[in-house]
């Protein structure tokens, strides 16, 4: 196997069900120059170090060769970049303001208080499964659950939820790196989806400015804090980001989670007996099968020497967090799914200033979803293993997860 095509192999659709042997191969060269300007980093300590390195930028304008997935620096017609693609101080300001209506310390209990509502949505979805001959867990459960949650949290009317499906799918697909392919056409489609989503949100925000409700859009639209208010464009980018992130990641966490549990029936049984085990199970899942497999949108502001390699200024950095999560230098028996692991400081939510904004919500959603599925599905089995995967190598997860069970407990 030549080094040059390792990344391409990882991105190849055929390797989606099990990229982990390729990640192990990748880790042999902790910092790999793919030759086309991208530096692929795959070992735990190196990734962690770069995630905390102030010489690493998230702003695509700092790339020596501007571009990258879904980015066109000349396009002024679309929404401005959301805080995930910005550096401090703009990043910090926007993230801080967004946090005032989402998480601690400002809203210490916002997520905790959603618990009852999350339980209710999960119960409703499981009640509605119907025939147990062939359940598509993705379509019938793990997609609609987080989508309903993020729409309610933000304040998007239920009847509009389906419209996001298309926009979110398109935008998520645009994050999928396809080196060597001309991204022009894909970028065009993505920009169109972003613009449409933005226009829809603009209408909603306008409405919330007049009639504030108890939801995040209302709070963000009417925010007046030490950092001031968000401009309408900033507000649009931020809410679009939350909406997309809320769509595409937790789905995979829950689906990968159920897949892993069905492959480890002893753990599934333990979860059934003790729902509290959901907490360490979800942490181990974030290590073992992270919904975001790699972070492809960073660049260097200076030459950075790491892992015996000097990454030049302006290089494109690909941090393969899923490979770092199984680095034997960091974790004992990394290829084993072990919820009893004592030391699970994984990279599943990233680290540093861009560490996952929605982590507390994602954790709670996955904990509730998996413990309820374990409790209510009697004798669940996989109908296909491996299942059919989505195209996306970054946001990796099954497209469908056909399962069956004997009955559904009330």
């Amino acid at each position: 196997m030549t080094q040059g095509n390792l990344l391409r192999q990882i991105l190849e659709y055929g390797n989606r069900p099990n990229p982990y042997p390729l990640y192990a191969e990748l880790r042999k060269t902790p910092v790999l120059n793919e030759g086309d300007g991208a530096y692929v980093v795959s070992t735990y300590w190196e990734i962690l170090s770069l995630l905390h390195d102030p010489r690493v930028s998230s702003d695509p304008h700092n790339l020596a060769v501007p571009g990258g997935p879904g980015f066109d620096p000349n396009d002024e017609s679309s929404l401005p970049p959301s805080f995930i693609r910005l550096d401090p101080p703009e990043h910090d300001r926007l993230r801080r303001m967004t946090n005032t209506s989402f998480g601690p310390p400002h809203k210490a209990r916002r997520i905790h208080e959603m618990r009852g509502e999350l339980d209710e949505i999960v119960s409703g979805l499981i009640d509605g499964i119907g025939s147990t001959d062939r359940i598509d867990l993705v379509e019938q459960f793990s997609y609609p659950f987080p989508v309903t949650v993020i729409c309610r949290l933000l304040g998007v009317p239920r009847e509009d939820e389906s419209r996001f499906h298309t926009w979110a799918d398109t935008l998520a697909a645009s994050l999928d790196p396809m080196p060597g392919e001309d991204p022009t056409e894909r970028n065009k489609i993505a920009q169109k989806a972003r613009t449409e989503l933005g226009m829809y949100l603009a209408g909603l925000i306008e409405e919330r400015r007049k009639n504030p409700q108890d939801d995040m859009l209302s709070e963000l639209a009417n925010l007046k804090g030490p950092d001031g208010s968000m401009t309408t464009m900033e507000l649009l980018s931020t809410s679009a980001l939350l909406l997309i992130a809320g769509h595409e990641t937790t789905v995979n966490l829950i689906t990968n989670g159920m897949l892993t549990l069905l492959r480890n029936p002893d753990v599934l049984q333990r979860l059934r007996d003790d729902p509290k085990l959901a907490v360490p199970i979800v942490e181990e899942l974030l290590r073992f099968e992270p919904p975001v497999q790699l972070v492809p949108n960073r660049t260097t502001l200076a030459d950075i020497e790491i892992g015996g390699v000097t990454i030049p200024k302006g290089a494109s950095l690909w941090l393969v967090v899923a490979a770092g999560n199984r680095d034997p230098q960091r974790f004992k028996e990394p290829e084993r799914f072990d919820p009893d692991r004592e030391d699970i400081e994984h990279l599943g939510f990233g680290s540093g200033i861009h560490s996952c904004f929605g982590a507390p919500l994602a954790r709670l959603e996955a904990q509730i979803a998996l413990s309820e599925l374990a409790r209510r599905l009697v004798n669940p089995r996989l109908l296909e293993d491996p299942p059919e995967y989505r195209q996306n190598a970054v946001l990796r997860g099954p497209r469908h997860l056909p399962i069956t069970c004997d009955e559904i407990r009330p």
Binding site: H52, P54, S57, D87, L301, A302, S355
Partner: protein, 464 residues
């Protein structure tokens, strides 16, 4: 295997005594049990409480958000120890291997771990210190008493000393909307630990939050009323402040007096030990059965020019105790050095302050990210052209990077661009530490001892 199987016997049925039942003592004892020590374990503590956590005492407890009796340290494992609480150790007989207790009892040991920590330095005038309303803040009882007094709604609290504890107390008072005056001998709060440049930021934070901050002044006396309650503090600039609560925050004194005359190398700066936590005797000879850990220990650190450092840091207490306990139970070739990078945090006026390395060794400072005026920044300290320390205000997620710079003795000033670099970070300025010969509340790191010429080393800390 040792020649005579001593270690095996020690592990099986030896006697280990831990003096000091706080964070370091507890983590040390737990590590001994983890390491297979099955013999008799005695824990001696001067307070009547089982080990508790101190950081909440000056934060959550003073705010009334937590009570002092709910800060017990979580246990990592069952200890199966004999607890001798509420009785301080009063002496050590090294030859007979015995610890004397204040109640006259004696406890024999095969190996001894000393983790007696520090205590608050009291107000030096005894009569004034005894006035009702005069407090220090170190123990659970101190915190309970002060919290109760704050809940009574005093007209004004007067804090002597603007180190970390004093500043956190002032912050808690303001959050409770209590008027507070802070008197500091140095030019700014936190100046001993972080220097004048950062101290100026701390001063702004205090003033913006309504603290009546007086710097460059000493407190010359505390005045009581006829009932023995404190009513005013007098300052060296001739002014006086009416107050009904005074908190003395003048730093800490190491608990080593009980070792006087024992022959151990113990004094006001702590107990000197080698990098493996083995205590020195007064002749400079390392002992093999007495180990020290936590605030009371002074040990040499290669990254900081082999200065003997004593660190009043939470994380140091934990890791040093773990290292000491490990070394107590193994052959000399298996011993580990204690190579912790100093690190601490504080929380005041809504700002999270974190530091790594030894800023107080620094002579220069440069703001590499953010801005001093926004009270949100990362700054790096330089000493002899290398990075020696770093501090962040509300910017802690970058700190691991700066720790790496310290560990790799990176050149100062850093030459690379960073995200959020501002014009004020274009060049270093003097870090503006006070003359060390002028006493102040003191930094949380005490430097002393051997200082060889600048060394260039690559430091590789253990990662597990």
């Amino acid at each position: 295997m040792s020649v005579d199987g001593y270690l095996d016997r020690l592990k099986r049925d030896g006697r280990i005594v831990v003096v000091g039942a706080s964070l370091a003592g507890l983590r040390g004892a737990e590590t001994l049990r983890d390491g297979g020590f099955a013999g008799t374990l005695t824990m001696i503590g001067d307070e009547p409480y089982e080990p508790y956590d101190r950081p909440p005492l000056s934060k959550g407890v003073l705010l009334g958000k937590a009570t002092a009796d709910h800060t017990a340290l979580p246990r990592r494992r069952a200890l199966d120890a004999e607890w001798r609480l509420g009785v301080p150790a009063s002496g050590l007989d090294m030859a007979a291997k015995r610890v004397r207790l204040a109640d006259g009892d004696e406890v024999e040991y095969d190996r001894l771990l000393i983790a007696t920590g520090v205590r608050a330095r009291p107000w030096p005038h005894e009569r004034e210190a005894a006035l009702d309303g005069v407090f220090v803040l170190r123990t659970r009882d101190d915190a309970t008493a002060l919290q109760k007094r704050l809940a009574d709604g005093p007209r004004r609290v007067f804090v002597i000393g603007a180190g970390f504890t004093g500043s956190e107390i002032a912050s808690a008072c303001r959050e409770r909307e209590i008027e507070v005056t802070v008197a500091e001998r140095g030019a700014a709060p936190l100046v001993g630990a972080l220097g004048g440049v950062v101290g100026e930021v701390a001063a702004q934070m205090q003033r913006e939050n309504g603290v009546d901050l007086r710097t460059g002044v000493m407190v010359t006396g505390l005045e009581g009323d006829s009932a023995g309650r404190v009513r005013a503090a007098h300052l060296s600039d001739g002014s006086s402040v009416e107050t009904d609560v005074v908190v003395v925050s003048l730093g800490a004194t190491r608990n080593t007096e009980w070792l006087a005359g024992s022959g151990l190398g113990a004094g006001p700066r702590g107990i000197a030990c080698d990098a493996g936590c083995r205590a020195f005797d007064i002749r400079g000879i390392v002992t093999d059965d007495i180990f020290v850990a936590g605030d009371v220990a002074r040990s040499p650190h290669p990254l900081f020019n082999y200065q003997f450092l004593s660190l009043e840091h939470w994380g140091n207490a934990v890791t040093q105790a773990e290292t000491a306990a490990h070394n107590m139970l193994c052959e000399s070739v298996d011993r580990r050095p204690h190579m912790w990078i100093p690190a601490f945090w504080s929380s005041q006026f809504g700002v999270n302050i974190k530091s790594v390395g030894v800023p107080s060794m620094g002579t220069e400072i440069i703001v590499t990210q953010g801005s001093l005026s926004e009270h949100r920044f990362a700054a790096v300290y330089g000493f002899q052209d290398r990075v020696i320390g770093a501090v962040t205000f509300d910017d802690a997620r970058w700190l691991p990077f700066y720790q790496q710079l310290i560990e790799s003795t990176a050149p100062f000033p850093p030459q690379f661009p960073t995200v959020d670099r501002r014009p004020e970070g274009a060049r270093p300025v003097s870090a503006d530490f006070p003359d060390p010969s002028v006493p102040t509340h003191g930094p949380t790191v005490t430097l002393s001892g051997y200082s060889p010429a600048d060394r260039r080393i690559t430091f590789t800390p253990g990662r597990h």
